[in-house]
Symmetry: C2
Subunit: 432 residues, 2 copies
Amino acid sequence: VASTNVAALNALLNPLHPADVADLLEQIDQRDRATLLFLWRDGIDGEILSELGDDLRSEVIDLLGPAELADAVRDLESDDVVDLVEDLGVDQQEQVLDALEAGNRVAVEKALAYPDESAGRLMQMEVVRAPSHWTVGQTIDFLRASDDLPEQFYHVILVDPRMKPVGYVTLGRLLGTPRLIHLTELLEDSFRTFRVDQDEEEVAYAFNQYHLISAPVVDEDDRLVGVITIDDAMIVLDDEHDEDILRLAGVDAESSLTDKVIATTKRRFPWLAVNLVTAIFASLIISLFEDTIATLVALAVLMPIVASMGGNAGTQSLTVAVRSIATKDLTGANVWRVIRREVLVGLVNGAIFAVVMGIVGWVWFGSPMLGLVIAIAMVINMVVAGLAGTGIPVLLEKMGVDPALASGAFVTTVTDVVGFFAFLGLAAVMLL
Amino acid sequence: VASTNVAALNALLNPLHPADVADLLEQIDQRDRATLLFLWRDGIDGEILSELGDDLRSEVIDLLGPAELADAVRDLESDDVVDLVEDLGVDQQEQVLDALEAGNRVAVEKALAYPDESAGRLMQMEVVRAPSHWTVGQTIDFLRASDDLPEQFYHVILVDPRMKPVGYVTLGRLLGTPRLIHLTELLEDSFRTFRVDQDEEEVAYAFNQYHLISAPVVDEDDRLVGVITIDDAMIVLDDEHDEDILRLAGVDAESSLTDKVIATTKRRFPWLAVNLVTAIFASLIISLFEDTIATLVALAVLMPIVASMGGNAGTQSLTVAVRSIATKDLTGANVWRVIRREVLVGLVNGAIFAVVMGIVGWVWFGSPMLGLVIAIAMVINMVVAGLAGTGIPVLLEKMGVDPALASGAFVTTVTDVVGFFAFLGLAAVMLL
């Protein structure tokens, strides 16, 4: 790549989609990246910058001169510029804003005034609207006559005289309808509006749930101020999913593959610290039974199996519960039914594995009573796993804590503690 | 709800969006559902059926009479009917197909002939196309004159005389351009086609990566046969995410909240069985050191901490790796850099927690050597966790196995075995 052949580089990179160029930049190492940008600085446009992760974007902006930066961002729509600058440092934000035309700059600054992760940040301000009393013919003539239609739009939004959106009509339907029909007869059922300060997560949920293509955004007086399109919602949905999946594993959702060692270490640290505390707690339970273990070392050999099976069953229940809460499928109406089901599943699977482990324990150490002890402990721990795996995320959600983030630590603590305590406690009572 | 008051029920349910009615049906129990459907059978339409999960949909179809079913599905587009019937049993599939008009039925049967989870299943066959030599004026006149435009369309697809798609034009741009301009001057950059037999996962990835709104689908001769829109791609993306997140936790991706106890038990069983085998394997390692543990029971108390920290660190690395593989950010080009980073992160965090645990072990059991042993074992296991957490998913991907499904079992086996072996082995050598 970095053979300093500018012509070959142009031939290679220019036909690529901006998203692919961004992926390429993310996959090569820092030195190659600097060389490539030096040779190919004219090729970087705003769309490539948009596709880069936050850390890398700021690195690339530092490598670009002010002139290239201005060229790069000039052609972007207001929502893309907002997305580009919102996570940059103040200095770099200034640099980008200075490169914009005055009108666009005002729009971007207005959007930046809305709260982080709100509908206001997500929307584009370029909207196509029509008075609600117009006919198809009037609307088509108006559209044909305007010379600054947004690059992408799918609906004409109908507004009343006070600029409140009352519905929308798809362009396809507009084109397929005689000129004299009124727009109000063509309104889509799926019409929904969002407020500028609504959380982008709710917006993405609604797009997904109601299969929206675009939706108007209104201010606190119900006046139309922008429009959110499905491609923006899809990006948010994708981010939320990533966040959930990473949080379930105890990884900070902001992390990315291009992070440095120190940044990554810091991001992994808190969860591991929590895990250390819970692991020590479980060890304290074991230490209650030191004498029991000293008498029968087989207990030390078998005890991790009980804890591990409980931990796995708990993680299964927990993951299903966290996903169902996120998609609003698990609510007050069915929570008891779901908990009952999870407990029964724990009982059935617990019973099956209890028989298997009972026989294994018996044969391995030649003690039927040891087999019975591990079997009973297994059933207890897997029932508890079902209960805790569903109950803990639901409780956390009620307390306003993100269940994806905190459930794992609590559930595995419960299954470790219950697993060790049930197994060693039963052994102390029944075997000694 | 089930107070047998039909008028009140109509007043309550009719204004709801089909997706919300479906959610309601999923959250009430089976008896309420039967009563509600009996009272409100006319209210069930095809869109509600589309929104239901597979098991529930088949339950509801059984409760509906043939006449209601025919009413319900008649107004759906071909891709929605395909989505509705593809996972039904053969009998119910026949019932639905019989309810369709002949033309629509042929389209649906043709789509069902494409492989499961392919672009052919996802696409709608209703497309709006224009010869590539047309002008804006000709196209607008053609659209205004047609009387069977699809309900939703966003692009006009340009085809050459052999029906091969060569590009597309957005309706917005069409409306904003003078009549004499040729369509070929308005083509969108983002144009991409899919083949009917392409995996829907690839389609969803491309929509997400290249911010597509719609894309033509071609057959093996490159002829246009349908179009996929972003709302279909968003559903696939959402499903894939769910699948990933559930598979990482060892839950069958097909499971849903409304599954019965037996179905859920069966779906959770395989992963728990794998876990039992790996847990027994780890126990075998412990049993190698029975004499060591008998001499020093403190080892039994502390050993789960080493395994647990390694397991957590491994899960963190693994989740980042699985996500990065799914989004194609982790490739051959950067895999060594990422593995090196994960190993270094394991080394740094391992060192920090080694110091903490070394002191805890020393103070707790009054033995500085025991503290040293647990500290060294901790560093070893967390480095191995970084290596295995990244290396195993990459290897599984190369072998054509879904890394989300199988990585967890391998990684925790490695961290358990290495954790127990390093800690107990070091203890045997250094302490006795």
